[in-house]
């Protein structure tokens, strides 16, 4: 035996499970195969780890898998509905925002909306000549833009 029991015990505390089982060619594995006392310690360590694994298995999920899957389905439906709602709401919101922006800008600039009925103010007629009351007058345009014929009657 290349190592003594005291050194073996120290190594057993950190060894791989295979070495605890005496498998392999390491000094420790060889020692475990040859020393009854250390083999008993190694066996107890493996048993203890198996007990721990079993005890942890007992602390398994308290929610049955079918129940957990049901919760996933419910959550998915809620999320799916929300996703569909967004698919509708997002374009609507965008359209509303664009419309609001359009109106705001139109309001600020005083521009008319497309299709709006336009009522133009009546054209203002500048007086060409001043005429005394109870007298009639007619103004005739001529080809010469700078000349007009005025007939008082």
């Amino acid at each position: 035996m290349a190592i003594d029991c005291k050194a073996a015990l120290e190594r057993l505390l950190g060894a791989d499970p295979a070495e605890l089982s005496g498998r392999g060619d390491s000094e420790l594995a060889v020692h475990v195969r040859e020393c009854e006392r250390c083999a008993a310690v190694a066996a107890r360590l493996l048993e203890g780890q198996a007990e721990l694994a079993g005890a942890l298995d007992e602390l398994g999920p308290r929610v049955a898998v079918e129940e957990a899957l049901g919760a996933v389905r419910r959550r998915r439906r809620r999320t799916g509905w929300r996703r569909h709602a967004w698919q509708i709401a997002a374009p609507l919101a965008a359209a509303a925002a664009v419309t609001a922006l359009f109106f705001a800008r139109a309001y600020e600039s005083g521009r008319r909306m497309p299709g709006e009925v336009v009522s133009l103010p009546a054209p203002r007629i500048e007086p060409v000549v001043e005429v005394a009351s109870a007298q009639n007058v007619m103004v005739f345009e001529t080809r010469d833009k700078s000349a007009k014929v005025i007939w008082f009657y």
Binding site: G48, Q49, V63, V72
Partner: protein, 198 residues
């Protein structure tokens, strides 16, 4: 190139099916890994209630993000990372951090005059003590590495990939965890180590 095992092939088929929108494949995949996810969550959080919550969250994330699994790593590696991420998020959200109260669901303490029952009670006490050590005395890292390597049988290389850690770091945590757990195991069997110090 090594041949994939039948189990791996089966998981791959389920993953592909679930990614393609096959709900039955998704549910089979969940049933297959449900207990494992919970165990990972328990080792990660050290708290059974939190492990339940994390497990539920992982299932939701699995459904939502399975499409992003590209098959470059093993599915278990990817799933473990989803579990870790869910546990970390839940831990951040949770203001309270109630420490573990281990309640092993076992039979009540048997009558002391029955030798067989006494033996079972002693076993139960030992197991409870070990679970307490595991959940309360080991650090989060030590706990998850010890559980993955020594209790669930994952190889150190796979655990390194799962945790995104250097193999030497994994071994270091594993070594410390083993020492703590094994010392606790030997505490209940002093007769085995009598005379070792001589």
């Amino acid at each position: 190139m090594s041949e994939p095992t039948r189990i791996d092939e089966s998981v791959s088929a389920l993953v592909r099916g679930a990614q393609a929108g096959d709900e039955a494949a998704f549910e089979r995949l969940v049933r297959r890994h449900y207990g494992q996810i919970h165990r990972w969550a328990l080792a990660r959080t050290g708290d059974r209630d939190e492990a339940d919550d994390v497990t539920q969250e992982v299932l939701v994330r699995l459904h939502r993000h399975l499409a992003s699994f590209d098959g470059r790593s093993q599915f278990t590696t990817w799933l473990y990372q989803v579990t870790r991420s869910a546990a970390a998020d839940l831990h951040r959200k949770s203001a309270r951090r109630e420490r573990l109260v281990v309640r092993l669901k076992r039979e009540p303490a048997p009558a002391p005059h029955d030798p067989r029952a006494e033996h079972e009670a002693a076993d139960e006490r030992r197991a409870t003590s070990l679970v307490r050590t595991f959940l309360e005395e080991l650090s989060e890292r030590q706990r998850e590495i010890f559980d993955l390597c020594d209790l669930q049988g994952f190889g150190p290389a796979e655990v390194s990939a799962m945790l995104g850690m250097e193999p030497v770091t994994v071994r270091s945590h594993l070594f410390r965890a083993r020492k703590a757990i094994r010392r606790k195991i030997l505490e209940s069997h002093p007769e085995l180590v009598e005379g070792y110090g001589d």
